[in-house]
Amino acid sequence: MAKRIDVSDLNIYYGSFLAVQDVTVSIEPRSVTALIGPSGCGKSTFLRSINRMHEVLPGARVEGKVIMDGQDLYGPGVDPVDVRRQIGMVFQRPNPFPTMSIYDNVAAGLRLNNKKISKSDLDGLVERSLRGANLWTEVKDRLGRPASGLSGGQQQRLCIARAIAVEPDVLLMDEPASALDPISTLAIEDLMTELKERFTIVIVTHNMQQAARVSEQTGFFNIAGAGQPGRLIEFNPTEKIFSNPDQKATEDYISGRFG
């Protein structure tokens, strides 16, 4: 069940430092939304505030609204743990649990939450998730081996399998392919195209071609200068952003004429 997310007037702080200012954006369900922009402009910060991962850092806080299918995620009485169950996340660096096997990593979302599930159901779920992440054929013979024995690209796909195994509504990906070779990158891009049938996907990337290839909508973040807050400069359909952007800054960034 993909869900739509409406963000309005979002300000994101690290202590007293305003890192991202005044973001208003709508993220469509069953689509891939790409976020691009120079380093340090607040893409990761914004992404992490969607599933309330931002606030796990000491002093970090958020003002404004993030509404998912009518429910304000920052409303009073909303448990961040519940939010994170509905909005999964894949990190820039693959981070499988080193003490667990490949199987246990995929099952981690359920196991760690003490969900009661029969062995055969769990087997099925693990296989489905690994197939979903395009990893099944590579690991089906060594599900019991430690996850740290996989290559970087396989680990990243394992993390994707782990994230989709809990069946979230939204999947956030922070530069999921930045440490991967072109083949693994392609595998993950294909995967996103498949996954968007079921999930709402938001991806941060530094790779313009990737954004152009996989996304329907693209948001461009920029920063006026060091110490200034990052802002969402432009949010438009990907084709428009890459052919005929509204903003001069977007065009400069995309064509590489960036200060």
């Binding site: 991962m53 994170r84 999964g88 981070n95 003490t99 979302g109 760690l112 003490n114 024995g149």
Partner: protein
């Protein structure tokens, strides 16, 4: 560009080291070092023949002479830079050798004097009704195991939870205060811990109380800060990414700690606990005032005096009775057993960290 404080300047200032084409330098043959020291030892032995000198002095003289010989040789043939290098090497090795002297001589002495009584009787008999020859330390070994086990039961949960609080939850002043108090606890003299436990139990049970549990409390006071410190270091090493990975799956914080952080740190935690046990198992003073000594085997830490290995060794040595040799032999054997236990614990700690470390290899 090395400007480290470790650098040793050659006394005559450095010769400009040749950049550019590789300079052909003359080197001493490989056996030069061995030869210098062999010569020094021969000279020392000859001197020892002439005048009666203590063996330690002779050894010192031989090392000093060998160093001087090698340095001068090297300086004449290889130049000041290599000579300085050789001198430093000699100094470092000598310092290491000097540091090993007490350890090696202690072990040799304890083994030499403790080995004769390291027999079946020692491990199966207590001192009940033993006068003179024979007897063993079964009761003391059991007492040490019971009291150390209790200590571990008290100190590990408290220490672990404190460490978890400090690493995972603590912020601001409370965290700083606890860290400071743990530091202070680390420095508590062991006799003070013993007196504290004694006073605590005397408060409830009257003066003169001697209980195994009181000894365990005293040892726990000594053990807790060690456990906190080591657990804190290990927990800090768990990458934050793993915590975030669990949070992002909708796992609550406490469950993340229990199911992800602690298992990841397990090897380090177990190693730390094992070393902490090794640290307190040989404590004598606090047990002397809280547990006392007994001749019979007593498994019940809540009822009366118990014997423990260190206190046993102490009493066998200081109050051997007549004739004294047998008790003194037992004291040495008790010391040997204690050393063996501590070594065993250290080996165990290494095995634990080897086998239970998260597998990273392919």
């Amino acid at each position: 560009m090395t400007t480290s404080p470790m650098r040793v300047d050659s006394p005559t200032g450095s010769t400009p080291s040749g950049r550019g084409p590789v300079r052909q330098t003359r080197r001493l043959p490989r056996w030069a070092a061995a030869a210098s020291f062999a010569a020094a030892i021969v000279v020392a032995l000859l001197l020892g023949q002439l005048r009666d000198t203590h063996i330690a002095l002779l050894a010192l003289g031989a090392v000093a002479l060998g160093t001087v010989l090698l340095y001068s040789l090297s300086r004449a043939v290889e130049g000041p830079r290599r000579a300085t290098d050789r001198l430093t090497t000699c100094l470092v090795y000598s310092a290491f050798g000097l540091a090993m002297v007490p350890l090696v001589s202690l072990i040799v002495e304890v083994v030499r004097r403790g080995a004769p009584r390291l027999d079946g009787e020692f491990f199966s008999w207590s001192l009940l009704g033993v006068v003179g020859e024979g007897g063993g330390a079964y009761h003391a070994i059991m007492g040490t195991l019971v009291i150390t086990g209790l200590t571990t039961l008290i100190a590990v949960p408290i220490g672990l939870m404190t460490a978890i609080y400090l690493v995972e939850y603590g912020t601001g002043r409370l965290k700083r205060t606890i860290t400071f108090l743990v530091d202070v606890m680390t420095g508590i003299p062991s006799i003070v811990a013993g007196l504290f436990a004694y006073a605590l139990f005397a408060l409830f049970l009257g003066p003169g109380v001697r209980l195994g549990i009181a000894g365990a409390v005293a040892l726990a006071v000594l053990m807790i800060p060690v456990v906190v410190r080591s657990a804190e270091e290990v927990l800090k090493l768990v990458p934050n990414e793993l915590r975030e990975a669990a949070y992002a799956l909708g796992v609550p914080k406490w469950r993340t700690i229990v199911k992800v952080v602690i298992p990841t740190a397990m090897a380090g935690l177990a190693t730390g606990v094992t070393l902490a046990i090794a640290r307190v198992i040989g404590e004598t003073a606090p047990l002397l005032v809280t547990v006392g000594i007994a001749n019979a085997t007593n498994f019940d830490p809540f009822d009366g005096r118990m014997a423990t290995l260190p206190v046993y060794a102490y009493y066998q040595l200081t109050q051997p009775g007549v004739p004294p040799e047998f008790a003194i032999d037992r004291a040495w054997t008790a010391a040997l057993v204690l050393i063996l236990i501590v070594m065993g614990l250290n080996v165990m700690a290494r095995l634990i960290s080897r086998f239970f470390a998260p597998t990273t290899g392919r």
